[in-house]
Symmetry: C2
Subunit: 302 residues, 2 copies
């Protein structure tokens, strides 16, 4: 199965030695490598009655890749460990690995190593390596009072898509697709780093939650401007059909893997980035100057 | 749980940015990084009624580390993803991560990233990164006719320990310990590389099987000298008690993660290495000049 997963695949120039030996060797041109790992478990992070195995593979790679671009780096290599029941059809593992390779191709990266073992449920564990291209990494801890807060990519689409699926609503294909396979704005990460971003993270747990982690790491507060977070027509339509609050999806929905970053006040925001608020002295995440932790009614606010 | 696993742990100088951001950053001094990944699943790769969680953690790190030293490199960093049932006691995950850190300390390496998620069974997926220290990697494909074949570390101990456990024999504590936590001869890998090893791999599937992979990759045959593979008194005693063939454990037992390498005929073998045979033109693994694939009676011979 491992042979099937790697046979005939092209490796990028960064792969000095691909799969097949005890370990792979990857170029790290600037003398440092960025690394992150994530594990996805069937029934918890994906459902095979909702998502195709190919979509699961794409999603697993996307969420790992987003962690690398959120440092301002670019993924070069992925290592993939898959656990699956012995009854798993070969077509399923083939589609899973095809999805992995398809998303890896978005980065012109390679799958350089892997392991495939028997397990009671499908488990996909991915490690991604990336290259900083000579730049310093952009950390969560770099936000400073006075900075602009900006976002690249979609907010709330995955959460809205999940709500549509759970309610078994017809339509809203774009939202459902966003839930099944996130489309993180990969190139916006290195672009932000080169434009002078002071802090950055990807939105995996929700905008308020992930900005909260940045505020804690940076020792600052963030004030979001709700007028700049206006949900688009897709979210508004789904919210109306479901009797839900579209702004709540925008503020608390995770898994879209948008990027949120802070920039000095005098820096013009680069392509793909839009302003959503400001960094202040203090702590925590405000919306329109008010903390909604106390009486705002968001269970997921933190 | 991730916080518990990384809090208060020292990071080596190679860790430029440890856990806590979207990704970690690791030094890669010579411009390349060696990487490998392995997944261990409860019930398949370990049993918690036989092994303590700490032993499972040590074993998971050991088998990953062995892949790096088998390239002649040295591990610098580990990324650890753990899936476990929600009912798992904190004492179990604490002991598991303590075992992981204990074995990682054998390399003066660091755990630089991780993920902990709910799963139906305990799954430990580890990725290891290593540094070549400016040397070329030692590949499986480098063996040449005329080379000496040499081994560092134990052969057959893990298989004998497993047989003892399965038979519920008393005694043989050293063999059982060898099965629960392999003790690969880590330093012998880089030592072999510096001494001029032409090819190298670690013995994870068994000496004959792993040498077979080397023969295929190198386009050569290997002739092992059974007189140089004489099982020691521990294996002999267990074989007598079980009515088993100790040489069979030596030739086919895996999981000790011994290192097997080839050296030019005129190279004095470095410390820790002992000669066990020769590289010939041809294909496959012979013992005392004869192929035992046909009538030798080893099911696992390949």
């Amino acid at each position: 199965m491992i042979d099937r997963a790697v046979a005939g695949r092209d490796q990028p120039a960064t792969t000095l030695l691909g799969p097949g030996d005890d370990a792979a060797v990857v170029r790290a041109p600037d003398g440092a490598v960025v690394a992150s790992t994530d594990m996805l478990v069937q029934g918890r992070h994906f459902r095979l009655d909702w998502s195709s195995p190919e979509q699961v593979g794409r999603k697993a790679v996307a969420q790992n890749g987003a962690d690398i671009v959120a440092m301002g780096a670019w993924p070069t290599s992925f290592l993939v460990a898959i656990g699956c029941p012995p009854t798993t059809p070969v077509a399923v593992t083939d589609a899973l690995t095809a999805g992995i390779w398809a998303e890896v191709a978005e980065f012109d990266a390679g799958v350089i190593g892997g392991d495939m073992v028997q397990a009671e449920q499908l488990v996909v564990s991915i490690t991604v390596l990336g290259d900083l291209g000579g730049h310093a990494p952009v950390l969560r801890s770099g936000a400073r009072p006075g900075d602009q807060v900006a976002v690249a990519g979609r907010l709330g689409w995955s959460a809205a898509g999940l709500a549509v699926l759970l309610a078994e609503l017809d339509g809203f294909a774009e939202l459902i697709a966003a839930h099944k396979v996130p489309r993180p704005p990969y190139r916006s990460g290195p672009i932000a780093a080169r434009a002078g971003a002071t802090g950055m993270t990807d939105v995996s747990d929700g905008l308020v939650a992930d900005l909260g982690h940045m505020c804690t790491a940076s020792g600052v507060a963030v004030d979001l401007d709700s007028a700049l977070l206006e949900p688009g027509p897709e979210l508004a339509a789904a919210a109306e059909a479901l009797g839900a609050d579209a702004l709540d999806w925008v503020l608390t929905g995770g898994e879209d893997h948008a990027l949120v970053a802070t920039f000095p006040a005098d820096v013009p925001l680069p392509e793909g980035w839009r302003r959503i608020g400001s960094v202040l002295a203090g702590e925590g995440v405000l919306v329109d100057g008010r903390s909604r932790a106390g009486g705002g009614g968001w269970q997921s606010f933190d």
